[in-house]
């Protein structure tokens, strides 16, 4: 067996295993490392033989049992990946035949595919591409053991580079199908917002600067103060933790099954007078935008309040809940684009007013008693629900509350502790306290979680990161949900300028440790901006490329898409690719000028050698002429002399003028400047004519002397 190829394959395998370390069990990784060490031992000659197949089979049985045991807890997808890595490791231990090698190669390709489930960035793509190049290099070494590593790496690299444009073409042209069947998803890697809020949760999110989603607007995006991205509504409160109400879930799924849809048209038409009074721009015309959601294995989408599905474009399946949040039909496992329309200033008319009211008035009456007492006192002499809400906000503003990401722990009666002792917290604390207060005052209210703000990447692109997570309040007043954001009262800069600015106002920073000051460095910021731009373009162009973008692109290229046009387009692509391949691989069909000279000369040599019975063999042209000169009749000798000389000149002349101008070009005739190559062509043509004439007269002469 070819040890070099085996070693290279083992290297690729261990790189892949380490890149997949998140879903892998520790002992599976250890077995993989063992297998690679065994292979290295064979390669470096520390050991002579593979372990016996009996040993490996025993190991395989044990490992399968263990995997069956752990498989239950790590989910189907992760067990599959573990199984694949395990199988590869065991195969690597027994690697002896070409067949084993090829199977392992295919498994490694699958591992690369699995890698893309977990890593979608540009850097992951480049890294995995390098691994694929190495895999093909190993394959080339298997089929050509004498090839040097460098040469085979170059060869497989060239093949992959040439394959790349073709792959890109296929990517653009092959239709993007919807998922054919449900695949197991990774259990452990749900990221982003949690579906419960115990004040304290969102702070951990604030530490993460991972991207949550990017939104691309066709026009200027709304200002930061209006950018509330709704994800969930928390309507269930047990005194400490807010969660999504199970009744809500049940109702939503029933309504969905009944096929009822939120009629925003109704709400916008009905509320147009209110909307008009609020702002000049009506709620009737929406602003379309595109949302590229980072994979989080969850189903909720983030939408500007309030947005609906843009039905004009081809979306992944989604629906709008009656709490105005959007849900995707399937968990978001890859980067996908969602197309939404934003309707600013549309009042959120509750369509399930009774249900909403009933759901959003409950609170555990035995908890947070001081707050309850305070609210009752506050609400006693108010005229309207708006008044109650405003008084609460006023209280936050004037009673010395501050904004912090490191609040004290509040294990018992958290709202009481927050309201009267700590008086410091972040959005979840404020929202939680306000919703509770409103409910106590008899106003249906709920907590909305999602994101707020986001950074402008360019003029029309907003990127929202995990630290932009936010919670705010909605109160149902006169059948319309009204939004309040208590955080904006305490830390207005959080809403207008983002988290970092808000924290700076209160002398805190998001980052701790040695990179604290890095964020403010000018160079660092510009480099970071640059990387974010690349990452966004990668997400938009490659990861977010879907049926819609595909159709748009083709429309841009071809105009209105008709089947006739498509057929023609595909056929012409086929022709272009075939021509490309033909030019690439069969360039030798065209005879070069030089080879014509050679042909003429060789014909002459054949005539002469037939006549003189002296073969040219490996002699140079001049040497051969000197040899046969005496054997030829004098006329024939001079004719053959002409041919030989012209041939020599044609052969060595083209490089002569080049020596003065550019020595580099001497070994690459293709690099000739146009004028010189043209001049050369004419000279070569002349020589060819001379040679042709000489050849025909030589033929005659030899025939004559042969007959005599």
């Amino acid at each position: 067996m070819n040890n070099r190829a085996n070693m290279l394959l083992a290297t690729c395998f261990i790189v892949l295993t380490l890149s997949l370390i998140t879903p892998l069990l520790t002992w599976v990784v250890l077995i993989a490392i063992c297998a690679v060490i065994m292979q290295s031992a064979l390669y470096f000659g520390w050991q002579e033989n593979n372990p016996s197949s009996r040993t490996v089979n025993l190991l395989a049985v044990l490992a399968l049992i263990a995997l069956g045991w752990f498989g239950l807890s790590i989910g189907l997808l992760n067990s599959m990946i573990n199984l694949l890595v395990l199988a590869c490791a065991l195969k690597l231990m027994l690697l002896s035949q070409t067949r084993d090698f090829l199977q392992l190669f295919c498994c490694c390709l699958f591992l690369v595919g699995c890698g893309f489930i977990f890593a979608l960035g540009l850097e992951a793509w480049i890294g995995y591409l390098a691994v694929i190049a190495l895999l093909f290099t190993a394959l080339a070494l298997l089929y050509a053991p004498s090839l040097s590593l460098r040469v085979s790496l170059r060869k497989s690299g060239i093949v992959l580079l040439q394959a790349f444009p073709l792959a890109a073409l296929l990517f653009v042209v092959v239709p993007q199908f919807p998922p054919l069947w449900q695949m197991p998803t990774s259990k452990s890697s749900e990221t982003g917002l949690s579906d419960t809020v115990t004040p304290g949760d969102i702070a951990s999110l604030a530490k993460s600067s991972d991207l949550a989603f990017s939104a691309t607007f066709s026009q200027t995006p709304p200002p930061a103060q209006q950018r509330y991205w709704r994800a969930m509504t928390m309507e269930n409160f047990d005194g400490k933790t807010w969660s999504i109400s199970p009744k809500r879930k049940q109702a939503e799924s029933q309504l969905k099954n009944m096929g009822r849809k939120v009629s925003l048209a109704y709400s916008s038409a009905n509320g147009s007078s209110d909307a008009a009074s609020d702002s000049a721009s009506g709620g009737g015309v929406g602003e379309p935008y595109q949302l590229i959601v980072e994979p989080n294995n969850q189903r909720w989408l983030y939408s500007l309040d309030i947005s609906t599905e843009n039905t004009a474009l081809d979306n992944p399946k989604m629906w709008q809940q009656f709490n105005f949040a959007l849900r995707a039909e399937r968990p978001i496992v890859g980067k996908r684009a969602f197309y939404l329309t934003y309707f600013p200033n549309v009042p959120l008319v509750s369509e399930l007013a009774d249900f909403d009211t009933q759901l959003n008035l409950q609170f555990p009456s035995d908890s947070n008693l001081s707050t309850q007492a305070w609210v009752k006192q506050l609400a006693a002499n108010t005229q309207s629900e708006y008044d109650v809400a405003n008084r609460i906000l006023q209280h936050f503003k004037t009673s010395g509350f501050s904004y912090t990401l490191q609040p004290n722990a509040m294990p018992n009666s958290p709202i009481d502790t927050f309201m009267f002792e700590a008086k410091a917290g972040f959005c979840a604390h404020y929202a939680s306290a306000m919703v509770f207060a409103l409910r106590v005052a008899g106003i249906p209210a709920r907590m909305v979680t999602g994101y707020q703000g986001g950074e402008l990447l360019s003029d029309n692109v907003i990127q929202v990161r995990q630290y932009d997570a936010h919670a705010w309040v909605e109160a149902l007043i006169d059948g319309v949900w009204v939004s309040y954001d208590p955080t904006s009262v305490v830390a207005p800069s959080r809403i207008s300028f983002g988290l970092e600015q808000a924290l700076a106002d209160f002398n805190e920073t998001r980052n701790e440790g040695m990179f604290k000051n890095l964020n403010s460095a000018e160079l660092f910021l510009s480099i970071r901006g640059w990387f974010r731009q690349i990452d966004y373009q990668w997400s938009r162009l490659v990861l977010g490329f879907d049926n819609q973008t595909q159709t748009d692109l083709l429309k841009q290229l071809l105009g209105e898409l008709t089947s006739k046009k498509m057929t023609l387009f595909l056929l012409s692509l086929l022709v272009i690719v075939s021509i490309f391949l033909l030019v690439l691989f069969f360039p030798l069909r065209r005879k070069s000028q030089f080879s014509r000279h050679q042909h003429l000369y060789l014909t002459a040599v054949e005539l002469v050698s037939n006549f003189t019975k002296v073969q040219r063999e490996h002699r140079g042209s001049t040497a051969y002429f000197n040899l046969v000169e005496s054997l030829l009749p004098s006329t024939a000798a001079s004719q053959f002399n002409t041919i030989t000389q012209e041939f020599e000149r044609a052969r060595y002349q083209p490089e002569a003028p080049e020596v003065h101008e550019a020595t580099a070009a001497s070994d690459k005739p293709a690099n000739f400047t146009k004028s010189t190559s043209k001049a050369n062509t004419t000279v070569l043509k002349q020589q060819e004519r001379v040679m042709k004439d000489a050849l025909s007269s030589l033929r005659k002469t030899l025939k004559l002397s042969g007959n005599q």
Partner: protein, 341 residues
């Protein structure tokens, strides 16, 4: 059964498509190319990755599957280009004995059309044989040495040689069946046996003229080398010193010329084998011998050409009536290969 039915028409078709020639430069007509088993497996992997990518809505997986598909397509051309750059010229072995392993040499020559150097492993096997020989043609080595064994004496046409390569990635198998248009005279297998009749012809006229017949017992003189004389008599020391090729001559007791002929009371094949063995022995000892078999006879001589003439006569000796049909039917396919390349 069906394979047998199609074998002859297929051979005829091959003869038309790849005409026999001593030199073969592979080209579009002579190269066959199809995905190998691994190639089909690779395509299945591509398809699976496509399905996986579609189901996970993962564009990177889709891109990966397209990249592999494109690589598969490009490899088709690379495989062909590499294989078609092979050009071979045959050098048949000088002496071939029946049932004895001999070597056929294929020299790699320059391909007129392709400048690229072929790389990778090349498998060579005789048509319809299982045993194959693997050569790494990326090496400097310019010769492919293929062992073979022919079972029956007489003139044989070498069957086609199958050349196979999977370079660069094993996704495709390129192969060809080449007929090098070579006829090989297979001499009978040398087996020492009872030679019932060795006739010493006593030719008095010859004997009186020359008192000293050249033998190898006692050194007698040095004479100039004449082509055809046995090389073991060349005085190498003299050649090295002076540059003149001289031959040591030995005096020997005058001996009668040896005439060999087929014995009548042994089976023909055995007799021929014994004769072959005897000719080889005499040749190596430098003893002149003649041969009389059937209607042909050769006067005593000890040159290499003479040996070949004698052995050819033995090889062409008509076969026994019983074994005739059997051996002629076999003769074409009776190449079997032994030993490792």
């Amino acid at each position: 059964m069906l394979a047998k039915w199609f074998y002859k028409p297929w051979l005829a078709w091959l003869d038309k498509r790849i005409p026999p020639n001593a030199t073969h430069a592979l080209n579009m007509r002579s190269v066959f190319i199809l995905p190998s088993r691994f190639g089909w497996g690779f395509m299945v992997v591509c398809l699976c990755l496509f399905l996986l990518g579609t189901n996970y809505q993962n564009n990177l997986m889709l891109l990966l599957s397209y990249l592999l598909t494109s690589t598969m397509l490009l490899t088709l051309f690379y495989s062909y280009q590499n294989f078609a750059a092979i050009a071979l010229k045959i050098t048949p072995p000088a002496t071939v004995f029946a049932n004895t392993s001999s070597q056929l040499t294929l020299n790699r020559v320059k391909h007129t059309q392709y400048k690229t150097k072929p790389e990778g492993l090349l498998q060579v096997q005789w048509l319809k044989e299982i045993k194959n020989f693997t050569f790494d043609i990326g090496n400097k080595e310019q010769q492919l040495i293929i062992p073979f064994t022919l079972c029956s004496r007489g003139e044989h046409k070498l069957p086609r040689l199958t050349l196979k390569s999977a370079y660069p990635f094993g996704l495709y198998t390129c192969w060809t069946h080449l007929d090098f248009d070579t006829k090989i005279m297979v001499y009978p297998e040398p087996i020492s046996g009872q030679l019932s009749e060795i006739s010493h012809s006593t030719d008095e006229n010859n004997g009186s003229q020359e008192d000293t017949l050249l033998g190898n017992e006692d050194f007698f003189a040095l004479t100039d080398f004449v082509e055809g004389e046995p090389l073991n008599r060349v005085a190498w020391k003299q050649v090295a010193k002076t540059g003149n090729w001289v031959v040591k001559q030995f005096s020997e007791q005058k001996k009668d010329d040896v005439y060999l002929s087929l014995s009548t009371n042994t089976p023909i094949e055995e007799g021929l084998s014994a004769l072959t063995q005897q000719i080889l022995t005499l040749q190596s000892q430098g003893i002149q011998y003649g041969l009389k078999v059937g209607n042909t006879s050769f006067t005593p001589n000890n040159s290499v050409t003479h040996m070949h003439q004698c052995l050819t006569a033995l090889a062409n000796y008509p076969k026994a009536p019983g074994s005739h049909t059997q051996s002629s039917a076999k003769s074409a396919e009776q190449v079997s290969s032994q030993g490792a390349g």
